[in-house]
């Protein structure tokens, strides 16, 4: 049975000082999944999730988050949502243990366990200002998970983390999904999106330009693979045969380096041909497209003229993390 959507957004629009930052955006986040919102800097990702959290008031559109309107029912909604926000901080002199006390509601449990899990147990008495960038990110994640939220919004989750810490955090996010928590992950790190997300929404200039599983996006936008190897004096017949293989395209030769372009089905045929010719190279390398290639293709600058417009904003949105319009926030 499919879980009902935890987040439903229809026709979201947000304008800052006459500039359209989010434009007619639709987004669904099914329950129990990790859904990615990816795109270049300034695509409007952070503004979108801030509207979902009720931190910004949309100019148009309807939003339902766990059955609540994020603006008019913020008090009911916020205890159910855990957030790890981009470009935010805690008071410099607040200690780690005090931060847990401050943010813990009646739904909070296992604060100590979370500190252990994220390697912060020994930093309980440390002030926020004394934490490294990675420790701060991990503390934000602990705070986001502290109150057993039903939806977790993670914005640039692993910014500033070293590779080992990233893997640790990724494992924690997968555990969340296993426990039934829904995760909306905002990132411009494609390896992170590919590793964690079941579905990905790609944003460009305030709009969703495509959505699907990572494999579907790669298939649609980055089919090309390359096989390359070194062969000092390749037989002419071999090069001709390689260019005629199923799925093969151009064959390039630069000095002793031979590169065969084509779709992914070509890879096996190239290997078989090399074996058949008895010329098996020792340095054969295969590059298959990944989500990053798909994104580069999908988010590449459009031709100046004749191409359909992606949105009505006439330009890129404001940078993510823009100041709040008024008041204390």
């Amino acid at each position: 049975m499919t879980e009902p959507d935890v987040v439903t957004v229809r026709g979201l629009r947000k304008v800052y000082r006459g500039r359209v930052v989010v434009d007619d955006l639709d987004l669904d986040v099914p329950g129990g999944e990790i859904v990615g919102l990816v795109g270049a800097n300034g695509a409007g990702k952070t503004t979108t999730v801030e509207c979902i959290q009720g931190l910004r008031r949309p100019d148009a559109g309807t939003l339902r988050v766990l059955g609540h309107d994020p603006v008019s029912q913020a008090e009911q909604l916020r205890p159910l949502v855990g957030s790890q926000l981009q470009d935010s901080a805690l008071p410099d002199r607040l200690r780690v243990a005090e931060a847990l006390d401050l943010f813990a509601t009646e739904r909070a449990h296992r604060g100590g366990e979370l500190l252990d899990q994220f390697g912060l147990a020994g930093r309980r008495k440390s002030a926020f200002a004394s934490l490294s960038g990675g420790e701060r990110q991990r503390l934000f994640l602990v705070l986001a998970l502290l109150n057993s939220p039903r939806l977790v919004i993670l914005d640039e989750l692993t910014q500033g983390l070293d590779p080992a810490a990233r893997r640790n955090v990724w494992a924690a996010v997968r555990q969340l999904r296993a426990a039934g928590t829904t995760v909306l992950l905002v990132t411009h790190e494609m390896d992170e999106a590919e590793a964690l997300c079941g579905r990905i929404n790609v944003m460009r200039a305030g709009r969703i330009v495509d959505r699907g599983t990572p494999a579907e996006l790669v298939d649609r936008h980055a089919r090309q693979a390359t096989v390359s190897f070194t062969m000092a004096d390749p037989p002419a017949g071999l090069l001709v045969e390689l260019s005629r293989l199923d799925g093969a395209g151009e064959v390039q030769r630069e000095g002793a380096r031979v590169t065969v372009h084509g779709d992914r089905s070509m890879i096996a045929y190239v290997g078989a041909a090399l074996v058949r010719w008895g010329r098996v190279p020792t340095d054969l390398s295969v590059r298959v497209p990944d989500l990053e290639d798909a994104m580069l293709s999908l988010l590449a600058p459009e031709p100046a003229a004749g191409a359909p417009a992606v949105d009505g904003s006439g330009g890129p949105g404001l940078p993510d993390g823009i100041e709040f319009a008024g008041g204390l926030q």
């Binding site: 931190l55 935010s88 002199r93 943010f103 813990a104 509601t105 709040f324 008041g327 204390l328 926030q329």
Partner: protein, 246 residues
């Protein structure tokens, strides 16, 4: 959530306040040190320049409002602007703290700080200069809390308007020092020139100091000053509440 959240926020903010060097310097140390220096500078003999009262007592009665001004014009604007600039308020909002709760917590923390810092000032002044007798205690008892509310609200307002901690510090100090010199901790009005006295007269800190000092030392009721401070308290609170969605 709200009451509990407010309680947690106030508790955390009170702890943080005691660790803030700006607060410790400006709110606790500065008024005490300057009061000790200037209170001793003019002696203890009644002086016509001080409306015929003991100059040391004049300054002891004046310096409680210096504490209030330091909280409202320096501590709170810098604190709030810094939180907003660094995304601390955004994090609090996302975590479910109602928008108004932070401003309300600042009000509580500001008033608590006022009580502690004023008490410290009196404790230090007592053995050195003595605490002057309070002639009209109820007016003082009304003026001090009203002034505290007025300046704390001004601080919340400034902190919510100014874009960064640096600008809040610059603007706060620019308002604080002239107010301090002209309206509370500087020379008495009688030795000021006519123009300076005219400039000093309507300043909020001058009005508050007058509303506290005059009834305290038996120099008159200072009713209009008290009314002006009350009006300022109402206006600043309403504006701060509107600005912070209170």
């Amino acid at each position: 959530m709200s009451t509990t959240a407010m309680g947690r926020l106030v508790r955390a903010e009170l702890k943080l306040m005691t660790r803030d060097p700006l607060v410790l310097t400006f709110v606790f140390a500065f008024p005490v040190v300057t009061m000790l220096i200037i209170g001793g500078a003019f002696g203890t003999a009644p002086d016509p320049a001080f409306d015929g009262v003991n100059p040391s007592h004049w300054y002891v009665a004046s310096y409680l409002t210096v504490v209030i001004a330091a909280i409202g014009l320096v501590m709170l604007p810098v604190h709030l602007a810094s939180y907003r600039e660094r995304g601390v308020l955004r994090r609090f909002a996302a975590a479910g703290f109602p928008r108004w709760s932070f401003a309300m917590a600042q009000l509580v923390v500001g008033l608590a700080t006022t009580v502690v810092a004023c008490s410290l000032l009196l404790v230090v002044a007592a053995p050195v200069y003595g605490i002057p007798a309070m002639h009209d205690w109820w007016r003082v008892a009304v003026a001090l809390p009203l002034g505290a509310v007025a300046f704390v609200s001004l601080g919340v307002l400034l902190g919510s308007v100014l874009p960064s901690a640096r600008s809040a510090q610059a603007v706060g100090l620019l308002i604080f020092f002239p107010s301090f010199l002209l309206g509370a901790g500087g020379p008495p009005p009688h030795v000021m020139g006519a123009v300076v006295r005219q400039v000093a007269g309507p300043l909020p800190l001058t009005l508050l100091t007058n509303a506290v000092r005059a009834p305290w030392l038996g120099l008159g009721p200072a009713t209009w000053s008290l009314v002006a401070v009350a009006a300022l308290a109402v206006a600043a609170t309403v504006l701060a509440a509107r600005r912070t969605a209170l």
